[in-house]
Symmetry: C2
Subunit: 225 residues, 2 copies
Amino acid sequence: MAEIRRVEVLENLLKANDYLAAQLRQEWDEGKTYVVNLMSSPGGGKTALLEATLPRLADRYRLLVLEGDIETERDAERIRALQVEALQITTGGTCHLESHMIEQAWRLVRDGPRPHFVFIENVGNLVCPASYILGEHLRAVLMSVPEGDDKVLKYPKVFRNSQALLITKADLLPYVDFDPQRVWEEARGLQPQLSHWIVSARTGEGIDDWVRFLQEQRDEAFPPG
Amino acid sequence: MAEIRRVEVLENLLKANDYLAAQLRQEWDEGKTYVVNLMSSPGGGKTALLEATLPRLADRYRLLVLEGDIETERDAERIRALQVEALQITTGGTCHLESHMIEQAWRLVRDGPRPHFVFIENVGNLVCPASYILGEHLRAVLMSVPEGDDKVLKYPKVFRNSQALLITKADLLPYVDFDPQRVWEEARGLQPQLSHWIVSARTGEGIDDWVRFLQEQRDEAFPPG
């Protein structure tokens, strides 16, 4: 009689995206790679935030950036100009990153020395990226001052699903009507644990605090020593 | 013998969205209602453009605004403050408008006096709205100065599928690096027939030209007299 072969099926069947994300997360945890997923509208300041953040980490940490865009390598080129490794993921029309895209990029580098931080710059979109976990440790949503202070309740999911909120382009505050307090209150109404900063990549305002937070979060996830 | 009943099937089977959009377009053409679909990133300035545009049309034309948002009635309330009729379409998570949503809103008003202009404010998203026609006569994409001048080739579809491009928030030009010429050239490389303006809802710059264009387009679609 032929041997009966069993395939154990997970009780909680995850969607393919979440299943792959969990595999990535396990691999990142084993390699002590802390992964941050940055989400915002187009022009919300994700690349500029990275341009301000990466040089403040580069002397202590190995860094990798995964750049999600529908088309072009423009953002990856800006990161490479900082002497930081960047892989461009062009989605070819898809309006968000999914974990299989991350996996395909990660595959190119997983056999080399493991980075201490990976920053994933999602496609510019305040809606759909909120629905796709990528195995990240931290989800950060950026909202730029010129977008206006009425956006939280209009696009609630990304705020509900994030742990960090950065109000960007603070240098434009003198020129537009924008009440940061309104944004904090509406966002924390959706997600009481949300940490938040007001930053300007141009002037450097708030960037050191944000970078310190990233280091603390990584130390908490992977206690040193 | 029973009569053989035939259903003629259209040779070119349209997707449900396009089929409904074609029906809406026919009804709008019959009623001489000119329909404009406004698309941009969140905070791209769609509502502010309407706040500047509608008062310049209100003395000559009957106006209707269909406001697309994921949640809240905030934009519709801004339009109603101008004494212009506005219907809010809350998509409940969907990141773009589809023609069946437009049809459901239009059904509420189609038996009244037909508007001369309908403005559809799409969900704030530079990606997905580009894939859904809504029966509109004119597709206008807005890009705000603080979003940055590198967005056209990163989000090409919405520029390729539009007839009008408005660079908004021109009053912020002194405070950011933004080259309108770069945007025009990249956009017209994708869509040579694109008409374009640079506008500021705050100062009024460019708004009269844009409003004149709208009137000319409507006169061309529905010749007066």
